[in-house]
């Protein structure tokens, strides 16, 4: 197990490096470059040239990557002219907001999806199951911006219950305390996640319910609900853990759209805005952070899977 871990960690580091290299190359090979975008149409060619030289955009690609990487090792992720901030502090500012949004959505989604999935598994192929499946698929199929918009119209305008924008404060404490403003953005992200998670739980529980150990327990006189809670759930939830790890990229994407609709300047929104203005340092920094998060997430998921499921052995 330890050997497996070490191997995976090394592989993960390699993957992260490769991600940076790929993104770096992609950005710098595309036509146009960042100079004109940052300096504007009225900049003279001398000003452009000065900018290019100052920021090393005239050096060979591999040298530029080396410089960037070297800075990275010293904790310097570069500087965004467009936003007049260091990339590291931008990320430090925005990332927690996105994480709060994602975590809340995941927690809410799990709290609803798992009981839902269990219910659907036990009452499979009944009307209730079909209806819930239908709703699951419905939310899954709705573009997230449409869902967000509908929620705002229904619960902010028609029924003025909730705020149409997410919490606006800078501090995490204040954000978490502003419950009313959190409802709609979290709901938008969670509803879509619930659809996926509940179906996963449903099929996972179903699979377990047909296993021998369940029949044995039932034959021994254990009550239905006890079986479910004590035995089945523990086993059924193992794959859900993996699912969490795999969902991270999708959640980032979903968060991006929710951030834009609900006026919540997190990291996803940052990426979109800076992609449009070719703010290379920010794009590289955010991609790196997301890659790290995804790789770590999937590693943790695999480890959790191995720890929880004694049948799985990693060589």
């Amino acid at each position: 197990m330890a050997a497996y871990l070490v191997r995976r960690v090394l592989q993960s580091i390699l993957v992260i490096l490769l991600v940076s290299l790929v993104t770096f190359t992609l950005l710098h090979l595309l036509p146009g470059g960042p100079a004109r975008a940052i300096l504007g149409p009225r900049a003279t060619s001398q000003q452009l040239q000065q900018f290019i030289v100052q920021n090393h955009y005239d050096k060979p690609l591999i040298l530029q990557f080396g410089l960037w990487f070297n800075d990275l090792l010293h904790g310097n992720l570069g500087y965004s002219y467009h936003l007049n901030e260091n990339v590291a502090s931008l990320i430090a500012d925005r990332l927690p907001k996105t994480i709060v949004l994602m975590l809340l959505s995941i927690v809410v989604a799990l709290l609803i999806a798992i009981p839902l999935g269990v219910y659907q598994a036990r009452k499979r192929n009944t009307v209730g199951d079909y209806v819930l499946t239908g709703f699951s698929f419905l939310f899954y199929a709705m573009p997230s911006f449409l869902l967000g918009l509908l929620l705002i119209i229904l619960f902010s305008f028609v029924l003025p219950w909730f705020s149409p924008e997410a919490p606006q404060s800078d501090s995490l404490g204040a954000i978490l305390a502003d419950g009313n403003a959190l409802v709609l953005p979290v709901a938008t992200l969670a509803l879509i996640t619930i659809a996926a998670f509940s179906r996963y739980t449903r099929s996972s529980v179903m699979e377990n319910l047909t296993q021998d150990y369940v029949r044995t327990a039932a034959a021994n006189g254990a009550k239905d609900s006890r079986i479910v809670v004590k035995h089945v759930l523990r086993n059924a939830l193992i794959p859900v853990v993996t699912l969490l790890g795999l969902s991270l990229p999708a959640l980032f994407a979903g968060a991006l759209i929710v951030e834009s609709v609900f006026n919540y300047p997190g990291m996803g929104f940052l990426f979109w805005q800076e992609a449009i203005v070719r703010d290379y340092p920010v794009l590289l920094g955010v991609t790196l952070v997301v890659a790290i998060a995804t790789v770590v997430g999937s590693l943790l998921a695999d480890i959790a899977y191995a720890v929880l499921d004694p049948r799985v052995k990693y060589a």
């Binding site: 036509p31 146009g32 470059g33 004109r36 975008a37 940052i38 300096l39 504007g40 149409p41 009225r42 900049a43 003279t44 060619s45 001398q46 000003q47 000065q50 900018f51 500087y79 002219y81 936003l83 007049n84 901030e85 502090s89 931008l90 500012d93 705002i152 902010s156 305008f157 149409p164 924008e165 606006q168 800078d170 951030e259 834009s260 609709v261 609900f262 006026n263 919540y264 300047p265 929104f269 805005q273 449009i276 203005v277 070719r278």
Partner: protein, 612 residues
């Protein structure tokens, strides 16, 4: 949803500003009219445009219009202020000096400063102006508004003739209006407390206010301070202001709070207790909050959320309340700029055709501005008939621009122009069947058999522009001109349009569209039409036009100016006019002093107040 229109900031707009003539309330104000002291007014920033630079000597990389007009100008006053109501004219009461006195055949300028003080007790003196000018001379390569041969190149000497008087000698005779409105407008006096190179140094120790050669170090010091966003609210340097406001809180997301500067020496002291600015991720997000009626006091209504304005309406505003909340009243916010589509004379394929006047006229005739205004801009736009906007009505717009202008939409006329110049409709596209330079032929350099398949590259993201462009394509095709529309991100369009270097091979673009070019106080054409100018995108080189343009810089008469405008309106040099839209702003019903808005984009919250 996506960013609103993009504003391209020209030279003089950086330091141009304006306000109401002091004391005038707005006739739109429906509430009571007794101004109250106190209250917090909240302004909605346009999405994606939060202030993030505080040092008034802005470089190109940090040149965002909102940092200047909605942030810096509130704290650090430019020497001359522009904007009276909705006119971009000089505002004497808000300027820091009396109107400049031109002598010696307009080659000497004398400026007498008013008694202003800085918030740290320093008096504002001519030295402060020299401080700025020295930095200009030393750091012009870093000045966002720098145009070679113009300011400060056209200034020979700057002398402090008394503590309250500064004299400049110029390298030529210039038009007073232009020199004051576009050149002197670039001056923002800086306090001697900024003239240093380290935190513990004494004010003035940097030497930049007396010696140009010392300015590099001082510039670097202040530049680096300004790069430190997180210190804006705490850094003592930035607390030294001469404007009506001081910064109270600032964060990197764009939330700004300002409080009145008690030592402001200007004529209108703020009545509000606090002025706030809020950032928004998108137009939709801003409107969702605006319509609630409680959070935002002054904000823009996105065009797609405005009701259709009827064609017969005499008011520029919506016919009925666009929002469920009744807490607001509305006012138009015009843009002092030129809305046009540059065309490329240097394009290897269609350059020769585009250089022909009749061809540009035909192209212009296929743009249905009236319908565009009515539908794409939902009624909140007027046709652009030349380089000077006609809304709001102003002295710079010439006769040729009045009414529908010389080229109102007419497909039949467009077709005739083409057929009478050697083009024939073949398979739905006009083809040159009579090549040559005679008056009834295609024109010099247009090859026989050339068919009109042009490409229009435009910046994506604004729905109304998508509509206009599609309609143009459709209308032009009826006249035999096949336009391929190509939407690209704004920065790609800019990059492509400015890449026409020495090589013809990089000059692939034919027609482009990426928004307005905003003007300084005086809407001269030097950036657009002088050969070699930075934004002479189309490579225009017309000696008569060059002459007319130069005349407007040196001769201040409105007749000369109108001659220039008439010529441009008729010749369509390197540009086709596109609809001129305006914003509709909502502001709280119980507020006064907000409207009319300054067309140069500056806001003056010291004029705002709540009423009983």
């Amino acid at each position: 949803m996506f960013n609103g229109r993009r504003w391209l900031v020209p030279v003089a707009t950086l330091t141009v500003l304006g306000s109401l003539v002091a004391g005038c309330g707005s006739s739109n104000n429906a509430g009571g009219t007794t101004p109250q002291q106190g209250g917090t007014a909240t302004w909605a920033e346009l999405s994606g445009a939060s202030p993030n630079w505080i040092f008034p000597f802005v470089d190109s990389a940090h040149n965002s219009v909102n940092s200047v007009t909605q942030f810096e100008n509130l704290m650090y006053r430019p020497l001359y202020w522009f904007g009276n109501g909705n006119q971009p004219t000089i505002n004497d009461s808000l300027s820091l000096a009396a109107e400049p006195i031109y002598q010696n055949n307009n080659t000497t300028v004398v400026m007498n400063l008013k008694p202003y003080v800085w918030s740290n007790g320093e008096k504002m003196t001519a030295q402060d102006v020299q401080f700025w000018m020295n930095m200009m001379f030393a750091e012009k390569a870093n000045w966002a508004g720098y145009v070679p041969t113009e300011f400060p190149d056209n200034v020979k000497t700057v002398t402090v003739t008394s503590p309250t008087q500064i004299t400049m000698t110029l390298d030529n005779t210039y038009s007073n209006t232009w020199f004051t409105g576009n050149e002197l407008a670039q001056i923002t006096p800086m306090p001697l407390a900024w003239d240093k190179t380290s935190d513990s140094a004494a004010p003035g120790s940097g030497g930049c206010s007396t010696d140009q050669n010392k300015c590099d170090a001082v510039y670097q010091y202040l530049y680096n301070k300004s790069k430190n966003l997180s210190t804006y609210q705490s850094e003592p340097l930035w607390q030294i202001v001469d404007g009506p406001w001081k910064l109270k809180t600032f964060d990197s997301d764009g939330n700004v709070t300002m409080v009145p500067n008690p030592t402001y020496s200007g004529p209108v002291k703020p009545k509000l207790a606090e002025f706030k600015e809020l950032p928004f991720t998108s137009d939709t997000a801003e409107f969702n909050v605006l319509r609630g009626g409680n959070t935002i006091n002054v904000g823009d209504i996105p065009i797609t959320d405005l009701p259709q304005r009827s064609v017969t309406s005499s008011s520029p505003l919506p016919d009925h309340n666009p929002m469920p909340s009744t807490n607001y009243t509305y006012a138009p916010n015009y843009v002092w700029g030129w809305s046009y589509a540059p065309i490329n004379y240097a394009n290897p394929t269609y350059g020769p055709a585009l250089k022909q006047l009749y061809f540009r006229q035909a192209l212009q005739l296929t743009i249905d501005q009236k319908t565009d205004d009515q539908v794409a801009w939902r009624g909140y736009a007027v046709p652009m008939t030349g380089p000077i906007p006609t809304a709001p009505p102003n002295q710079f717009a010439s006769q040729a621009e009045q009414g529908d202008g010389p080229y109102a939409f007419n497909i039949g006329r467009a077709k005739n122009l083409l057929t009478s110049h050697g083009w024939t409709m073949q398979n739905g596209t006009m083809t040159c069947t009579s090549a040559g330079s005679a008056p009834n032929q295609c024109g010099d350099g247009v090859p026989a058999g050339q068919a009109l398949h042009l490409t229009l590259e435009y910046a994506n993201g604004v729905k109304s522009v998508d509509q206009i462009v599609q309609q143009w394509k459709s209308d032009a095709s009826q006249a035999g001109i096949d336009i391929t529309i190509n939407a690209q991100p704004f920065n790609t369009v800019i990059s492509d349009t400015t890449s026409c270097g020495q090589k013809a091979s990089t000059c692939g673009w034919q027609m482009a569209l990426f928004g307005y070019e905003t003007y300084g106080a005086v809407p001269t054409g030097d950036p657009f039409f002088l050969p070699g100018s930075a934004i002479n995108y189309g490579s225009v080189n017309d000696p008569h036009l060059t002459d007319l343009t130069n005349k407007t810089l040196h001769d201040g008469s409105m007749t000369t100016f109108h001659q220039y405008v008439d010529y441009v309106a008729q010749q369509l040099p390197g540009a086709l006019n596109t609809p001129d839209s305006y914003f509709v702003y909502a502001y709280s019903r119980n507020m006064g002093g907000v409207a009319p808005f300054n067309p140069l984009g500056v806001i003056t919250p010291e004029n705002w107040y709540f009423t009983k």
